[in-house]
């Protein structure tokens, strides 16, 4: 909780690099992914309540909010795992609300999962080789062994290297230590070459020392890849993001650049205590 207090803005000031990159991308900035009045109800509960969100090209956009705010539900709607009750989702201006999960991946929307979703019977190498061959359009091949494709192997080698998985690449995924599994979770998403990458608490359960490294890898992605990040660690959020959207009870509670959000007393209240949150939320309800 102490992280949510006065230090909130402290990190934002030291983000010279990110700000410079923001300026360079700003020239070509346009909306890539957009939701319009998105609603998802589970019975009487609105997990997503009239959310209109815009993710720009090259965005480093964070989605924060207390537990149960509907962050993961929003990711599930964006990726097609859930179907919205009403509202629409557009990618590059064309409607994708009805597209299946895999069709959206082919359009470039790729995610990671809060809880590892891996292929336990495969190895890190074969998992990545599969994801890479799907991305390259060769995954339907049923005659040529997967190892014959030199381009696939080269891309796997580079991913394994970047995520420090090379030493365990031939071990069954189910036998890997948690930290390695977490790295594989993110590497698998990057193997799909996302245009819009949705990261659902990517460093959850990762030791403090390794977190920075994961974020460096994410930061090293091409500047035109849009990233939407769900994260609880405010230091990481304010170091990484340029734009922050705060979700509370399924609805957009506040949105703005890092400085604005980190100094917003209502946002602080949401993170400081339940009572304050209810009060602060009232004018928006």
């Amino acid at each position: 909780m102490s992280a949510a207090g006065p230090p909130l803005g402290a990190n934002a000031a030291s983000r010279g690099g990110a700000a410079a990159r923001a300026a360079s991308v700003g020239a070509m900035s346009s909306v890539v992914l957009e939701t319009r009045s998105l609603v998802k109800r589970f019975g009487g509960l609105s997990a997503t309540n009239d959310v209109s969100l815009q993710v720009e090209r090259g965005a480093r956009h964070a989605l924060i909010g207390p537990n149960g705010a509907g962050k993961t539900t929003l990711i599930n709607l964006l990726t097609g795992v859930l179907e919205p009750t009403s509202g629409s989702i557009a990618l590059d201006g064309s409607d994708i609300t009805k597209l299946s999960v895999h069709a959206r991946v082919h359009r470039g929307i790729v995610r990671t999962f809060q809880i590892n979703q891996l292929f336990n019977g495969l190895t890190p190498l074969s998992s990545l080789a599969l994801a890479v061959s799907v991305q390259r359009g060769s995954s339907a091949g049923w005659w040529k062994p997967i190892g014959r494709d030199a381009a696939v192997a080269a891309e796997c080698a580079s991913l394994l290297e970047r995520f420090r998985l090379a030493d365990v690449m031939d071990q069954p995924v189910h036998s890997l230590a948690y930290g390695k599994r977490r790295l594989l979770e993110i590497a698998t998403a990057l193997a799909c070459r996302p245009r819009v990458l949705l990261l659902d608490e990517p460093v959850a359960g990762v030791p403090e020392g390794d977190r920075q490294e994961i974020f460096e890898t994410i930061n090293a992605l091409p500047a035109d890849v849009s990233i939407l990040l769900i994260e609880h660690d405010m230091d990481l959020v304010f170091n990484f993001a340029r734009t922050v959207t705060v979700l509370v009870n399924g609805a957009v509670f506040a949105e703005g650049d890092v400085a604005t959000i980190s100094n917003d007393p209502r946002v602080k209240a949401v993170y400081l205590g339940e009572d304050d949150m209810v009060d602060a939320q009232a004018p928006h309800g």
Binding site: T79, V81, S100, V101, H102, V105, H106, V110, R111, F113, Q117, L118, F119, N120, G121, L122, L125, S126, S127, A129, L130, A131, S133, V134, Q135, S138, S139, A140, G141, W142, W143, K144, P145, I146, G147, R148, A150, V152, A153, A154, C156, A157, L160, A166, M169, D170, T188, A191, C192
Partner: protein
């Protein structure tokens, strides 16, 4: 060659190793023709084993690789058997063309019924596959003008197998039949082996392990399930075709529940998900059946049951390593 290998990254080399031939795979493929040469008097039994093995390899593709459970795989065996028998009786007696007809017929049935296994849980899949096999059983029973009903389709006379090396007639000793079944089994194994090491084969294992993630890397889970179900049905159809052609008739028995259960047992014995479990399982199952029922024909099921219970309790890994049974856990 050595310079080319040295240039490969460890990942590339490792990825190539997946499809490399293991020594025991080569030994197994060598054992197929050897069994024909060395055991000429056992051809009838060996032919049965080869057909059950082929049927089990087919089930392994959907169960071991794609994770689809089935209690009605006999639907495809039976459909292939009746297709081959009817073709030989009513159209022409050529076995190779008949086998092709059996394969295509079962593949079509597989594609048509694959929609039923896409949704639901393992339990619903068990019920649906069981249901499809029961429906076909009753159809074969009722349509007696076509299938001979409960009497089966008798009087199926097969022509010789015509090859560039000569014409081979089916004989009473089953030598020709066994050679024929062995070749079909070997070809099916080689094809299945290519499939499981291909990107398509890896994707089947991926969607077996985690469908949510499989679709989240861009795989169309449904299309792939339809594809593998159709391929497995085609191979089961080949097994059925061989069964009808080498035995000279087709009866309701080929659709029976015990066929579906038996092939599942064969895979449980031999192990799933590495392609050869069906072969080892078929050899053990059929030999066990032969030995035990010669000794005590009435109580074969008792001993089979006991064997399965022990196998499952001990675990297959340890069962084949008796020296580890009484070793204390470290």
């Amino acid at each position: 060659m050595s310079t080319g290998k040295a240039a490969l990254s460890p990942a590339a080399r490792s990825l190539r190793r997946y499809a490399r031939w293991r020594w025991w795979e080569l030994a197994l493929f060598a054992a197929l023709p050897l069994s024909w040469l060395l055991l000429p008097g056992q051809s009838l039994l060996l032919n049965e084993i080869a057909i059950v093995a082929l049927f089990a390899v087919s089930l392994d593709l959907i169960l071991g690789y794609a994770g689809i459970v089935s209690l009605g795989h006999a639907a495809f065996l039976g459909f292939g058997a009746y297709a081959a028998a009817l073709f030989a009786k009513d159209v022409m007696p050529d076995p190779l063309v008949g086998l092709g007809v059996a394969i295509v017929a079962s593949a079509l049935l597989g594609a048509a019924t694959s929609a039923l296994i896409l949704r639901g849980t393992d339990l619903t899949r068990l019920m649906v596959t069981l249901g499809v096999a029961s429906i076909l059983y009753e159809l074969a029973n009722k349509l007696d003008w076509l299938t001979g009903g409960a009497d089966g389709l008798q009087g199926v006379v097969m022509g010789p197998i015509v090859t560039p090396f000569g014409r081979f007639d089916f004989d009473l000793s089953g030598r020709t039949a066994y050679a024929y079944s062995l070749i079909v089994l070997a070809v099916a194994l080689l094809i299945a082996r290519r499939i499981v090491h291909s990107p398509f084969g890896i994707s089947l294992q991926a969607l077996r392990d985690n469908r949510l993630r499989a679709s989240s890397i861009g795989l169309s889970v449904r299309l792939r399930l339809v594809a593998v179900y159709t391929i497995a049905a085609a191979i089961a159809g080949a097994a059925g075709g061989l069964l009808a052609q080498t035995s000279g008739f087709a009866s309701l028995d080929v659709f029976d529940f015990h066929r579906s259960a038996e092939v599942l047992l064969v895979l449980v014995i031999g192990g799933t998900g590495y392609l050869y479990g069906g072969i080892f399982g078929a050899v053990v199952f059929k030999l066990l059946h032969d030995l035990v029922s010669a000794w005590t024909p009435q109580y074969w099921n008792f001993w089979l049951g006991l064997f399965l219970v022990v196998l499952v309790l001990v675990g297959r890994e340890r069962f084949v390593r008796p020296w580890t049974w009484f070793r204390r856990k470290a």
